[in-house]
Symmetry: C2
C-alpha cells in the first residue's frame, strides 16, 4: 500500500481518541462537516474540489497488519481495540457539493454521517485532500477568468509541495478550466492533456541555437514550439524565420515559440512582428516564467500578442494564499447538535444544507445556510454521494466536473469575477433557526 493510501497518514490524536471511544463504548452516529471559515485575501469565491479523492480514500480505508504491529509497539494502544481498528471500514454516508461548484465561507462542502470512530479517524486525510484541491482549483479559476479563450498550461510540478501536490494541482487546474499540464503522470492518472517541448538545457547542449531548433523539429514534426529566450529572444525569432522554409520543405510547420524571461510584452510584440514579416503569422506565442493571474491580466490588457501561458509556481503553491482556513468539525453526536465554542473558532452546529438563490439574470445572488430539517427557498447544493460506505453513482468524470466549473464561473456576478477583492463579499445568510440553535447551545454550555 502506498504512502498516499495508508490509513495511518493521519494525526496520532485520531487514534488515541478512537482507543478512548472504544474503551468508553462510544459508538453512536456522529456528523462532521468540512467548511472554510474565511476566504483568504485575494479570493472572492472558491471552487469545491477533491471529492473524488475523498471518496476513493473512504472506500479503501483500512489499517494493515503491519500498521497494527507498529501501533502495538508504540503509544499505548491495546487489544482488543487494535483488533477493532484492523476491522474498521468506512460504512457511513457522505453528502457533498459536486466538484467545481462555486462556494463560500461557512458552507459545508462535505458532510460525513457515520459511527463516531469512522467519522473521526478520516479527519486529517479528508481535510488534506479537500484543502489541497479546493485551494488550487480556486487559484486556477482566477487565471481562467483573467485569460478567457487563451491556452493555459500548469507548469508547476517542480515547485509543488511534493508528488501528490503536483498531480492534484494538475487535476484541479484542469477542472477549473486550464487546458492542460506539463506533468506526464497527470495525463496517465487523470487524462489531463499534457504539453511540453524543450528546456533551455536542450538549447545549451547544442553547439548553436539553430541546430537545436532544427533537430527538435525533426524529432517532433507535429509539435514544433521552439524556446527562444536562451540567449537573445529577437535574434532567436529571426533564426526561426530563417529555419522555417527549410523545415517547410521537409513538411514541417513551426507551430509556435515560447518566451520564458525578460519583459514578456515587449518581447512578444517584437517577436510577433518578426514572425509575421517572416511569413509565420500562424505561429503562436506562448509565454512562461514567474507568471500569475495578475501578470497574465496585465499582459493581455497591454495588448501583448500572447496566445498562451504556462503558469507554474504561483499556481501549484497558491503562492499568494498557500492555505485555506478550513476545518472538519463535529456538528452532532447521538442526535444532539454540538458546537465548538473556542474563542474566534466557534462553529455553526447541527447538520446543515446550503441553498443558493439566483438573480433574475441567472447569476448567483446569495446563499442561505440552514439546518437540514429547516428547508429554505433556493437550490440545495449538498447532494448525497455515498450511503453506508458505497457510492450512489459511478465516479464523475473530470470532464463533467470541468464543465460544471465553467458553468458556475459563468454565473458568478461581475464583482466576484474580477481579480481585485470584491467591494462586498458574497452574501451567505445563516437561517434564523440555525442562529437560534447556536445561541441555545451557548446558553447550555458546560
Amino acid at each position: 500500500m502506498s504512502q498516499n493510501q495508508s490509513a495511518l497518514l493521519t494525526d496520532l490524536y485520531q487514534l488515541t481518541m478512537l482507543q478512548a471511544y472504544f474503551d468508553e463504548g462510544m459508538q453512536e452516529t456522529a456528523v462532521f462537516e468540512f467548511f472554510v471559515r474565511a476566504l483568504p485575501p485575494g479570493r472572492n469565491f472558491l471552487l469545491a474540489a477533491g471529492l473524488e479523492q475523498v471518496l476513493c480514500y473512504l472506500e479503501q480505508f483500512r489499517v494493515t497488519g503491519a500498521e497494527l504491529d507498529w501501533l502495538r509497539a508504540h503509544g499505548g494502544f491495546r487489544e482488543p481495540f487494535l483488533a477493532a481498528l484492523g476491522a474498521l471500514r468506512f460504512t457511513g454516508d457522505v453528502h457533498a457539493l459536486p466538484e467545481g461548484t462555486a462556494c463560500f465561507i461557512n458552507e459545508p462542502l462535505l458532510r460525513i454521517t457515520a459511527p463516531i470512530a469512522e467519522a473521526q479517524v478520516v479527519e486529517s486525510r479528508l481535510l488534506s485532500l479537500m484543502h489541497l484541491s479546493t485551494l488550487i482549483a480556486s487559484k486556477a479559476a482566477r487565471s481562467v477568468l483573467a485569460a478567457p479563450g487563451k491556452l493555459l498550461v500548469d507548469f508547476g510540478m517542480r515547485r509543488a509541495h511534493g508528488a501528490e501536490a503536483g498531480l492534484l494541482a494538475a487535476r484541479a487546474a484542469y477542472l477549473a478550466g486550464f487546458s492542460g499540464t506539463a506533468t506526464v503522470l497527470a495525463g496517465i492518472e487523470f487524462g489531463v492533456p499534457v504539453f511540453g517541448t524543450m528546456a533551455h538545457s536542450y538549447i545549451e547542449a547544442h553547439a548553436d541555437e539553430i541546430s537545436a531548433f532544427r533537430a527538435f523539429a525533426r524529432s517532433f514534426p507535429a509539435n514544433v514550439v521552439l524556446l527562444i529566450d536562451t540567449y537573445d529572444t529577437e535574434r532567436a525569432a529571426e533564426k526561426v524565420v530563417r529555419l522555417a522554409p527549410e523545415l517547410a520543405r521537409e513538411g514541417i510547420r513551426v507551430r509556435g515559440v515560447r518566451l520564458d524571461s525578460g519583459d514578456l510584452a515587449t518581447h512578444a510584440r517584437a517577436v510577433r512582428a518578426i514572425l509575421d514579416q517572416g511569413g509565420l503569422s500562424d505561429a503562436t506565442i506562448f509565454s512562461s516564467g514567474n507568471l500569475d493571474e495578475w501578470k497574465v491580466q496585465q499582459l493581455l490588457a497591454s495588448g501583448a500578442p500572447i496566445d498562451g501561458f504556462g503558469i507554474g509556481t504561483s499556481l501549484d503553491t497558491s503562492s499568494d494564499a498557500p492555505f485555506l482556513d478550513c476545518a472538519y468539525k463535529l456538528q452532532e453526536y447521538v442526535g444532539t447538535p454540538r458546537r465548538k465554542h473556542s474563542e474566534g473558532k466557534a462553529t455553526w452546529p447541527g447538520r446543515k444544507q446550503v441553498y443558493r438563490r439566483f438573480a433574475p439574470d441567472g447569476t448567483l445572488d446569495h446563499d442561505v445556510v440552514a439546518l437540514e430539517d429547516d428547508p429554505q427557498q433556493g437550490t440545495p447544493l449538498l447532494l448525497p454521494v455515498m450511503r453506508a460506505g458505497r457510492r450512489l453513482a459511478v465516479a464523475e468524470t473530470l470532464a463533467s466536473a470541468r464543465a460544471r466549473a465553467a458553468a458556475e464561473m459563468a454565473r458568478l456576478p461581475p464583482n466576484l469575477r474580477r481579480l481585485d477583492p470584491s467591494p462586498a463579499p458574497y452574501r451567505v445568510d445563516i437561517a434564523p433557526a440555525l442562529r437560534a440553535l447556536a445561541q441555545e447551545l451557548d446558553r447550555m454550555r458546560h
Copy 2:
C-alpha cells in the same frame, strides 16, 4: 509502483528532449547543478534537505512497461527510443551538501554528472524533492531558533499540500530540530517521534468536559495531556485541578494541558496559576492554534509560561514564503561549460565547489563559490555521495542529519540567527576564475 516513485512524475519536455537527444545521438556527459537563486524575504539562511529522497529516487529510477505503452499511444514517441527509455537507469555521479548543512544563494546543493539523458530526465522530480525539504527545513529552523529548549511539534499534515508534503514536512522539521510530529506515518516511515492526545470533537462528544478528561486519562494513563479550550479555558483548568486527586488515587498523573485558541499568553498565565495553586506545578502547558515562529518568539518574550508549541499550517506550507526560487541547470556538456543567459536568470557556469570560511570564534564568516578545478581556502561543502549510480555509503540516519543541523545552526553568526532580516546578507563570493569564465561565455554566445 506508487505515484511518488513513477519516473513519469516529470514534465513532458524532459521526455521530448530525450527523444530528440536520442535521434541526434547525443549521449555525452552533462553536469547539472541544483541551487537557489535568491533567498525569499524572511530567510537569512537555508538548511539543505531532501538528499536522501533524491538518492532513493535515482536508485530506483525506471520507466515501466505500462508507462512505455502510454507514451507509445501519446505524444509522438517512437521505437527504438522507447526501448532505450525502458532500459534507462541512473548510472551517474552525485555530489551534494549533506542534509542539515546551512547554505545560501548561488551555492550548488547538489550536482549530477551523468550521460545527458539521465541527468536531464531526473530534473523535475529532483527539483521537487530538494525544493520541498529544503523549504520546510529552513522554515522549521526559525521556530527552533525562536524557542530554544522548548518542545516543538509539527501539527501541519492536514493543511500540508498533500500526502508527500505532510510526510516530508514532518521529516524536515525534525531534521531542523523539532521534537516530533503529530503525523503517525512519519513515525513509521522516518522514525520521527509522534505526539497526540485529543481534539475538540472528543470533548464535545461527551456530556461534559470533566467526563471527557476522566475517560481519556483512564485510556492513556501515561499520556494525560488535556485539551482545555473547548468551552472556557480557565474553568477547564479548574476542572483539571479538581480531577487530579481522583486520578492520582488511580495512579494517574496529569502531565499537562493544551491551549488552542484565544490570547495564549493571558490564558497560559491564568492556567499556570490555577495549576500551581492546585498542586499541579509539574503539569506542563502546551499551546497551538495558528502559531508561527514570530508568535512563538512573542509569547516567550512576554514571559508566557508555555512549555511547548504545536506548529501546523505556517510550517507545513512555509506560508510566508511558500516556495524557493531554485533551479537545476546545465553547467557543462561534453567537457565544455554552459551558461543560460536569459534575462534575470543567468547562471554561473561549469562544475563548481563551495568553500566555507569560519571566523576565529568558529562561526560562519563567508563562502566562496569556485570552479571545481580552482581550489580555494576553506572547507569544501559538496561531497561525493553516489558514483556510477551507487551510493558511496549507507544512507545517513535522520538522527545524524539532525545533529548536523543543530551544529550548523549553533555556528551561525547572530545576525543570521534572528527572525528579522539580517541587515547584510551572508557573504557568498564568486571566485575570480568563475567570474572570468562567465564573462568569456557571454562574449562567445550565439
